[in-house]
């Protein structure tokens, strides 16, 4: 009798122990399933969208994006003023911001981050965004000054980019393994391929924000779209990124889930050519032939399920700077003729490496079939994401590739880094001095009508004539989550705004 009682109590013990342990982490925890693992923790060297998450969570920048990406909100910079001629900016640094190590953040850290960004140069994105910066210095521990070479309407918004994160000089050697920043979350660990863990920074300067966000964020790479969605549906994760078009209707019909989209998208898919070596170097006719050969409508219907907007203008139709230009049409006959005139030896297949991610891969397959129809052979080489970024994008080992741009919404931001000399989004290494002047002009005035004219000329020269890039269509990016995530916004760039969402989990 007694024995039975003991066993009974013992069992209760065991069961409650298991129940308690299965509750798990004591605070609120948000799990995000992402389409891939992060590639680079150093925000000033990062090249891909997946690295936005650590950058936004661990570090701050002088300003952060608002939801339109045109009107930045104060962050490290509490306020700012610009001189009459638009060239001198003074930022007031907020007092009391500390790095996760406890040290206070001052203008010296801003200077250091700028310095580092410029030193990194073409290997990162900072120098490209800050191309109009002439000089910068700290006026006092809480005042930072930047002098521009000429008026640059994009300058302020550009201070919100990943690579403009303010980094910690003291721990800079460990930035890729144990990063320290001043952001709302501290880095806990990164298990490559498994998960990344971030814990709330209790000393974050924006205390009000802290109560609205989860105590812990865990990101888990789940590359297979189907699996990622299934994880969301079964509750394994609370939010997932980049939901493929196939699944949109399914999610909309699920009352437990929400689909988050963008108001306007600055994201687009394109085919780009390398100007550094043959066959595309110096062979404009070949590039134009391919432009006429690609069946954008087919890609639009099959790869993108009819979402997004087909076009050749790098600006979407809803953009204020959009002008109608004379796009090339889908014309295989003309393509064949141009191909013949280009003199390219069609027995030689073109090297066409691509990321193995489905939207890249399928686009490439359609393009391959289109080119086969005009007699051009291509050699698609699917590459795993990390390898693709390293070899094909950064080391530029390609003749032709599918590129997916997620840009800023300002027209300059939209494609200056694509077409300007040696910029982060110009692996084609396309360079045209006339275009450079046009771009400089385009961002030197605030008047939208004048700016429109500049961009129209750029389109006519670069896009319609020289063709380093063939835009296929804009890409709508959607995320999905359960009901615990509220107020979630996706920037036109396709990145999540981690500073505006609320967690009720």
């Amino acid at each position: 009798m007694f024995k039975k009682k003991k066993i009974f109590i013992f069992n209760i013990f065991i069961i409650s122990y298991f129940l308690l342990t299965s509750v798990g982490f004591a605070g609120s925890q948000m799990k995000i399933g992402l389409s891939g693992d992060l590639v680079m923790l150093d925000p000033q060297l990062a090249q891909t969208g997946l690295d936005w998450t650590p950058a936004a969570l661990i570090w701050n920048r002088l300003v952060e994006y608002d939801n339109t990406m045109m009107d930045p909100i104060p962050s490290i910079a509490e306020s700012w003023q610009v001189s009459e001629d638009g060239k001198a900016w003074i930022f007031k640094i907020r007092k009391g911001i500390t790095f996760h190590s406890g040290r206070e953040l001052t203008s010296a850290d801003v200077v250091y981050s700028f310095q580092r960004g410029f030193e990194i140069g073409a290997k990162g994105r900072f120098a490209g965004y800050m191309v109009s910066v002439d000089s910068y210095k700290a006026l006092s521990p809480y005042e930072f000054q930047v002098s521009l070479k000429q008026v640059d309407v994009t300058f302020l918004a550009n201070l919100a980019v990943q690579s403009a994160s303010i980094v910690d000089k003291d721990t800079i050697d460990k930035i890729r393994t144990e990063p320290i920043g001043s952001g709302p979350y501290e880095f806990v660990e990164w298990s490559p391929g498994e998960k990344t863990v971030y814990r709330k920074n209790k000393n974050y300067w924006d205390q009000k924000k802290l109560s609205e966000i989860p105590d812990e964020i865990i990101t888990i790479p789940i590359p297979e779209e189907q699996t990622r969605l299934a994880n969301l549906q079964s509750g394994q994760v609370d939010m997932i990124n980049d939901v493929e078009n196939v699944f949109w209707s399914q999610i909309e019909n699920d009352s437990n889930l929400r689909l988050w989209g963008q108001d306007v998208t600055a994201s687009y898919k394109a085919v780009i050519f390398s100007f550094e070596k043959p066959p595309f170097k110096g062979n404009k006719l070949l590039r134009q032939a391919i432009a006429h050969a690609i069946n954008k409508e087919a890609i639009h219907q099959t790869v993108f399920f009819g979402s997004g907007e087909v076009g050749c203008n790098l600006l979407p139709k809803s953009h204020w700077a959009y002008t109608e230009i004379n796009c090339y049409d889908y014309n295989p006959e003309k393509a064949k003729e141009l191909l013949k005139r280009s003199g390219y030896d069609t027995s030689r297949p073109i090297y066409f490496p691509t990321s193995s991610r489905p939207s890249y891969m399928r686009t490439a397959e359609v393009v391959q079939a289109n080119l086969k129809d005009i007699g051009l052979k291509t050699n698609i080489e699917p590459q795993e994401w990390g390898y693709y970024v390293q070899e094909t994008w950064i080391n530029r080992k390609f003749e032709m590739q599918v590129a997916w741009y997620t840009r800023e919404i300002d027209p300059d931001g939209l494609f200056s880094s694509v077409l300007r000399k040696e910029q982060g989004n110009n692996p084609m290494r396309y360079y045209n001095p006339a275009i450079e002047t046009l771009f400089d002009g385009g961002k030197s005035v605030y008047d939208r009508e004048i700016r429109k004219k500049y961009y129209e000329s750029i389109m006519n020269t670069a896009i319609l004539d020289e063709m380093p890039i063939i835009k296929i269509q804009t890409v709508e990016r959607k995320w999905a989550s359960n009901k615990k995530v509220k107020n979630f916004n996706i920037l036109p760039k396709g990145y999540p705004n981690y500073y505006s969402f609320k967690w009720s989990g």
């Binding site: 297979e224 779209e225 189907q226 493929e244 196939v246 399914q250 069946n295 409508e297 087919a298 890609i299 219907q301 099959t302 790869v303 193995s356 489905p358 891969m361 399928r362 397959e365 359609v366 391959q368 079939a369 086969k372 698609i380 080489e381 699917p382």
Partner: protein, 285 residues
Amino acid sequence: MKILFIRINNFLKSCISNRLAAFGFFLVIVMILTALLAPILAPYPPDKQIYQDARQSPSIQHLFGTDLLGRDIFSRVIYGTRISLMVGFLSMVIAASCGIIAGLLAGFYGGWTDTIFMRAMDALMAFPAILLALLIMSVLGPSLANAIIAVGIIYTPTFARLIRASALSIREKEYLEAARSIGMPNWLIMVKVILLNSLSPIIVQISLGIGYAILVEAGLSFLGLGVQPPKPAWGSMLGEARNLMVFAPWMATFPGLAIFFAVIGFNLMGDGLREAIDPHRIEDK
């Protein structure tokens, strides 16, 4: 030669009694014919993309439905037969040639050659095949040809073992003495006697091996490490279909079934051959 014919005759006879083997044989014949007659049987070219027809479930125009890019799955499965057969057959050619040479040398010369070869073969053989294939593919790079080579290498030890066993047993027999005494050179003896005697087990192994090769290649292609797109390999079709399974289950069903029937066909046929040709079989594995 005559022995071979008699054996095949036996096989066919027992086929009629052994229905499973007959079924396997039938499947294999169907596969071979499909591969040969692919251009006639397939209603569309395998990589023709008709985007207006994309993602359609099976219908009269598209018996197995279409895939994401509007390609006809029925045609792709048919052309996929060619790839599978090519992989199966060529990899067995590689495996058999390398294995036979290794086994002959080991079995005939014995001693150190034998021990070293056989230990190496044992190690190779027991080691997980997929792992070996992955290792080889990671060095050579993903492609159809490399997949064939990888599977060939993996299957070599099986043949080597077989020939060696045969060579060892033949070594002692009298007619070897007899042949030598009339002045036949060594290598001729090896080839004639040993090979002819082991012809039947070799054929059995080839049949089983083709089934195995098809499975391994499908796995590699599924992982993206084998045949590259747009070639219509069944394994890569399954890999592509993965994300769309909920909406388009036909994309995954038919290639999977194709793999299944192909492998089972060769397995059944191989088993049937084995029983027919050598009822008191020397069981290797």
